[in-house]
Amino acid sequence: MDETERGTGPERVGWLPSKRRLGASYLTGFGVVLVAFALGELVRQQATGFDGLVSAGAGVVLAGALLPMGPWLYASPLADEHVLTVSEAGALGLAIPTGLVLVAGLVAPMEPLVPQTGYLVSLMAAGTVVGSLVGALRALRREHDRRMDLFSRYRHLHRLVQHNIRDGMTMVMGTADLLADELDGASEDMVRSIRRQSRVIADLSESAGSLDALEERRTVDAVDVTTLVADLVEGLEEFNPDATIELHATDTDPVLTDDATVELAVWHLVDRALAADRAPTVEIAVEPTESGVVVRVTDDGPAPPAAALSAFADGDAEVVRDPAVVDAWLARWLVEEVGGSVTVDRRDGPKTTATITVPDGWDRWRGR
């Protein structure tokens, strides 16, 4: 996680340490003091019997829980001020019960005092732990809300941009169509290339919308991948009259998975192959494997750039810059949700093969 994402401020402001450091150190420091105090009490209570040992022992355990809390907070994704708030909540958790006990002790003095010191240490440690936990939950909640706000703003902006790109590109493509009909030769070719590129942009702006599918809950059922792919191919052929789609399907046993996710992932790969060329030949093979099914989608269109392919192989989504592999990325993200994987290779001469592996959910249950 990088520094900006964690909301980390400067380590020191003038001579003051940062809020993050201050909050984390406070909890760790307090944990150390309480552990020492509780250990001392444990030793002292050895003579006083079972009650004393239990109370001091509980104190050691509770105070011990504070020790990792400081480093955890320091490394957590929480913003600096939230880290400080957590330690403040811990302090409040310490102060309230301890204060109440002290007041009660003053109002009605109790005898004997010796075993109660063990309880007091446990109470202080418990108060701090509970306070910090409540504080941490609240801070996480606030952080979550902030991110959800940010996410929904991104989403609105994305929809706005998507909508405008789509409408703008419709105008560009429509006007290019009109011109292309009345032109010929080089001018026509130029207009057609405007047309084609506009389509790439319009499609690209739409593809991000497919991520919505990742949010949906998955239901697992026995899925016949061969039939699923065959149905999809039959429908896609009707809407891609220029393409040749060949299906080589071996009968496969049903696998336990989410059918909608697998369908969509396969669709992305077939779409990628169909978009590779003007009149592409796409071969689709469905084969059983030891632990599920593989679907191979091969096209004879121009190769995606080598850099895009190697970035895809490395799983480096940061460098997705080529529209040619966006669909493959979407397919990968989808199928990973059901434990599958996607690879894209350029091994088979002038052909590109995208392979999607769908594991059988049963095998995961059986621990294979």
Binding site: T170, D177, L178, E206, S210, L232, D259
Partner: protein
């Protein structure tokens, strides 16, 4: 087009100009200048220049019993007053007579066109251009303008008239929208002489009126409606994935169903609305703001 007789049909005619109360048998001939009607007793020439409206369709209610399913109704300026002639006969010959009459009246007219006045709902800043109209078989072509173009009458999905100042003159302009590869294009059009406006309007609406009537009976299930709305929100053309509702196979199956009903068609971008599909979404979903939000 060669000079001389263009169409010669036999049929029934009803017209005040024939001084007969009931429809009578007649020969109807059309040449470049006039429609000639010849009965046993009378012969009348209607100059094409006097015709201000032609309608092709079912006969008026009053003569429904006598006339067949298709009747050509021609309105023209008579000697004293405007007059109407109804021509009926074998459906194919009346249809042909009507088509040729439209083309003869409209062809070579001077037109002022603003095209495209809008593309995919976005208004352009294109200006009016003066050119010539050529009417073909169920199509019109505009020539002599910077970017000539043609449109089929079946692609027209909206039609209205509007008064506006054009080239310094108060004119009635036809505003129409037509579909090409799924995208809606706007066209503003004025014809000279102005009396041809009705004829042109009728010709361009030949298909639109029929489709509009046939769509009254179309009832679509919700998923199909959603899919059409998504396509509508994408200005009529889209990749298949972008209009997805439900699972991919369900989407593709719905699209195939809509294709069979001629509401969508495969296109360069994946799938596109047909003119019929456009008329349907406009009729059924317009004015329902929730139905076609950009978020869809």
């Amino acid at each position: 087009m060669t000079m001389g007789r263009l169409v010669d049909v036999a049929g029934q005619v009803a017209c005040d100009c024939l001084y007969a109360e009931d429809p009578v048998d007649a020969r109807i001939r059309l040449d470049e200048a006039a429609v000639s009607i010849e009965t046993d007793e009378e012969a009348v020439d209607i100059s094409l220049a006097s015709i201000f409206d032609v309608r092709l369709g079912p006969p008026p209610f009053a003569i429904e019993d006598v006339f067949g399913s298709t009747t050509a109704t021609i309105a023209f300026e008579g000697d004293e007053d405007s007059d109407v002639v109804f021509v009926s006969g074998a459906e194919s010959s009346v249809e042909r007579f009507g088509q040729v009459l439209y083309r003869t009246i409209l062809s070579d007219s001077e037109v002022a066109v603003k095209h495209p006045s809008s593309v995919g709902g976005r208004v352009t800043d294109v200006r009016y251009d003066i050119g010539t109209l050529r009417a073909g078989s169920r199509s019109v072509r505009f020539e002599g303008i910077d970017v000539p173009f043609a449109l089929d009458v079946e692609s027209v999905i909206d039609f209205s008239e509007r008064r506006t100042t054009l080239l310094g003159e108060e004119r009635t302009v036809l505003d129409l929208e037509y579909v090409r590869n799924g995208t809606v294009f706007g066209l503003d059009l004025a014809i000279n002489p102005a009396r041809k406006r009705h004829v042109l309007g009728r010709y361009l609406r030949l298909e639109y009126t029929d489709v509009l009537q046939s769509l009254q009976r179309v009832q679509l299930p919700d998923p199909a409606r959603h899919l059409l709305v998504r396509l509508y929100a994408r200005q009529g053309r889209s990749s298949l994935k972008s209009v997805q509702t439900g699972s991919p196979n369900a989407t593709v199956e719905l699209l195939r169903g809509l294709h069979r009903q001629d509401l969508v068609t495969p296109g360069e971008d994946g799938v596109q609305l047909t003119p019929k599909g456009w008329i349907l979404v406009r009729e059924q979903f317009d004015g329902d703001p929730g139905a076609a939000s950009p978020a869809d």
